[in-house]
């Protein structure tokens, strides 16, 4: 046949005498043993050099290299040993179907019936089994108690932040901000005074250019908007501002929000705008919040439109 056989028979030995083959094999094994010995020696040297590196203060690259050489030496030595010196050997194990023999199965089934019947479980004491099962299930349910103790429920926490009517707008250092300090295209990460660094109250203040039309949903101070800085998609801080196009960009999954249009989603996977903070100026000219965000900040959740106190 032109097609090569998938399982060709082993080719018979060539025209060598038995003694020839034996001698050649011996030479091969001796050579392999020498190489394996070299590998193990290299491994010993590398392992010892690890001590030297350690004692002299440690160095990450040298430690990695020494470990590599040591283990590669051991591995290569063993590989030569098993492939050449030990050589190939084949064993054949019998295999039986996994299923037990019919006789074996039946014998066990009988035993099972007999012992269960004897214990009174199979018959009229079945109600005892049911009650025991019920006790087990109840205790299993009681396992939920320690799990529940791990933390409070969400209560209203997802519906409110630290922002409150009259809270001054401060930067990350806690410094209150005046409207006239903000120049167009400037962005500042802001917090309510007294809650600097707060995860759920973080907001981003953007200085608007006066020559661009705005479409905002909350009362604000001319030329300034403040939005929640938590992405409504997966909660990353919306940290990048592309002033030229007036877009806030979330670096995690690239949702973009238009700051001149109430932070509506322009592109990307976010499902709703960033909530806008209603702001005004107090008597001293500082920026203050008129209240909390009117909708939950951050990623959406199923009962978010039901109002607080779920």
């Amino acid at each position: 046949m032109a097609e090569p056989d998938r399982f060709p028979p082993a080719t018979p030995a060539g025209g060598q005498t038995k003694a020839d083959r034996w001698r050649r094999q011996r030479e091969r094994e001796d050579r392999a043993a020498r190489w394996a010995a070299v590998c193990f020696l290299v491994a010993i040297v590398a392992a010892l050099s690890l001590f030297a590196v350690y004692v002299s203060g440690g160095q990450v690259q040298l430690e990695g290299l020494a470990l590599f050489v040591a283990f590669a030496g051991v591995g290569l030595g063993i590989a030569i040993w098993v492939r050449v010196i030990v050589g190939h050997e084949e064993v054949i194990e019998e295999r039986y179907p996994m299923r037990s023999d019919d006789a074996e199965r039946e014998a066990f089934e009988e035993l099972y019936e007999a012992t269960l019947g004897e214990a009174g479980v199979g018959g009229r004491r079945r109600f005892l089994v049911r009650l025991l099962t019920g006790a087990g299930a109840s205790l299993g349910l009681a396992l939920l108690i320690p799990i529940r103790s791990l933390g409070p429920g969400p209560e209203n926490d997802l519906f409110r932040t630290e922002w409150d009517a009259g809270a001054r707008v401060v930067d990350a250092e806690g410094e209150p901000l005046r409207a006239e300090d903000i120049s167009p295209d400037q962005v500042v990460t802001v917090f309510p005074e007294g809650a600097t660094g707060s995860a759920d109250s973080q907001a981003i203040l953007v200085g608007l250019r006066t020559d661009v039309e705005t479409d905002l949903r909350q009362p604000t101070v001319d030329g300034i908007v403040v939005y929640s800085k938590i992405c409504t998609h997966a909660g990353c801080p919306v940290g990048l501002y592309r002033a030229a196009v007036g877009e806030l960009l979330c670096p995690c999954h690239q949702s973009t929000f238009g700051v001149y249009n109430g932070a509506v989603v322009l592109s990307g996977p976010a499902g709703r705008p960033l909530p806008q903070l209603p702001i005004a100026l107090d008597d001293d000219g500082y920026l203050v919040a008129l209240g909390d965000f009117v909708e939950p900040v951050g990623p959406s959740f199923w009962n978010m439109t039901r109002g607080g106190g779920s």
């Binding site: 990450v60 590599f68 084949e90 054949i92 996977p269």
Partner: protein
């Protein structure tokens, strides 16, 4: 070995063995397993690489745990890394820096640990592909397939909890995303989130809890399931490629001792060698460059460990669909973050049953491996699924792709959206056609010459 009649010299080891056998009756069992047959093919060793990576993870991880402090309380950094000196950072981040810069051998251990985690998941994945495309999951091995899928899930969990521990800016961002997806679980999401963190995000308990999960519960689960995986493997014996000698009723291979033992030892040494080289020379997760986690800070591009890439990609690729129905909001992360991964893992876990019911319509016991061509439909679906995962994995780096190709991000995302839907079908169909062509060609040759061997699926039982 000599064959003289003289009694062998009795070494101390002999004495110990006899002492043990006197008490535990070990000779019989040892004799039985000493020559257990291990079919020799390189592809059977991939699972061993995963096992050895796990061993490396346990050893290096124990070392790291002696130094790590799972505490978010702030301390002033006064270590040798100049850019952070005097800065207030969490005790967890501080302990990670101390481990990296001040503990001798600490950095190499940390980096080997992280590299070993990446190799661990990679080896599991490749092992799984081998098992899938050769039909090794078929009856009676469905149980071990499911255990394998659970192991992969635990490996994901161990990886995620692990890289969240240093409390650096990247890990905090990953945690924030994970928490946000959790919030999207219907109704109980917020409750689970609050219970998990001990309060509203970020909470103060999260590191301690992640730590216990990472160093106790998940390793216990991994070790338990690996043990079950191996016990079942020994009980059911190995699968093998069909040959003149290897049939459905035997196992042909090299004996456990000395061949397989030495081969595995060599592979163990090679695995450690490669991980040490990676850990020593290739910097991984340089948390000092990311800086400490602040909930209001982030950097770009932020990329998770490779095995999280497909989940990340799905979040990036999914359209911004968010509906409010009957006063209930379906968050935009719900379908790509909760439903889709759940669906994928369910289908993968149930594959042995899907395969037997609809693909091969074969519920018999099999111990001989198939070649991908033997079941074209399975091969086509497998290749298609793989291309799908690869495509959303690429989408996980859409920002990197955009900045490296100077193509607009939205263009890249649009292309990837189309590609994710179309290309898997196309490549899957090509794989299916190729497998079918090869199979039909082979059947034609066999028909022309009946003396040839049977196709590889082996005789039905």
């Amino acid at each position: 070995m000599t064959t003289t009649d003289e009694p062998r010299h009795r070494s101390a080891l002999d004495d110990v063995a006899r002492w043990l056998d006197d008490r535990l009756r070990l000779a019989e069992g040892s004799r039985r397993y000493w020559r257990k047959a291990f079919p020799a093919h390189w592809s059977f060793l991939i699972g061993e690489v995963a096992l050895f990576s796990l061993v490396v993870l346990l050893f290096t991880g124990t070392f790291l745990a002696f130094f790590y402090v799972p505490d978010t309380r702030l301390v002033v950094y006064d270590g040798p890394y100049v850019p952070l000196q005097g800065q207030e950072i969490s005790a967890a981040f501080d302990s990670t820096l101390r481990l990296s810069f001040e503990v001798r051998g600490g950095l190499v251990m940390r980096q080997i640990h992280h590299w070993a985690a990446l190799v661990f998941v990679a080896a599991i994945t490749v092992h799984m592909l081998r098992v899938f495309f050769t039909g090794a999951f078929r009856r009676p091995r469905e149980l071990n397939w499911v255990i394998g899928v659970l192991l992969l899930l635990l490996a994901f969990g161990a990886g995620f909890t692990g890289y969240s521990l240093p409390d650096d800016l990247l890990s905090g961002t990953g945690l924030r995303i994970g928490y946000s997806v959790l919030l999207g679980i219907p109704f109980v999401g917020p409750l689970i989130g609050f219970i998990g963190l001990g309060g509203e995000y970020p909470g103060t308990d999260v590191l301690g809890r992640l730590h216990i999960l990472h160093v106790m519960l998940l390793p216990a689960g991994l070790i338990g399931l690996v043990t079950a995986h191996l016990v079942i493997l020994v009980r059911q014996k190995h699968t093998q490629k069909p040959s003149r000698k290897a049939t459905n009723d035997n196992v042909v291979g090299e004996p456990l001792f000395p061949h397989q033992t030495l081969t595995s030892l060599a592979l163990f040494a090679f695995t450690i060698a490669v991980l040490a080289l990676l850990g020593g020379l290739f910097e991984i997760n340089p948390v000092w460059l990311y800086g400490p986690y602040e909930p209001f800070q982030v950097f770009a591009p932020a990329q998770p460990d490779w095995y999280m890439g497909w989940l990340e990609g799905m979040l990036r690729l999914w359209p911004n669909w968010e509906f409010t129905v009957l006063g209930l909001t379906i968050p935009s992360t719900f379908l790509p973050g909760v439903i889709l991964p759940g669906l994928i893992f369910t289908v993968v876990g149930a594959w042995p049953w899907i395969d037997a019911r609809w693909i091969t319509k074969d519920h018999d016991e099999h111990h001989l491996l198939q070649r991908p061509r033997d079941v074209p439909l399975r091969t086509g679906i497998g290749v298609g699924g793989l291309v799908f995962l690869l495509s959303i994995f690429i989408a996980g780096g859409n920002d990197v792709l955009a900045s490296n190709t100077s193509t607009g991000l939205q263009t890249i995302t649009a292309i990837l959206r189309v590609a994710t839907i179309a290309v898997p079908f196309l490549i899957g169909w090509i794989a299916y056609r190729m497998a079918r062509g090869l199979k039909e060609n082979e059947l034609a040759v066999t028909a022309a010459d009946p003396t040839r061997t049977e196709p590889a699926s082996g005789p039905p039982r």
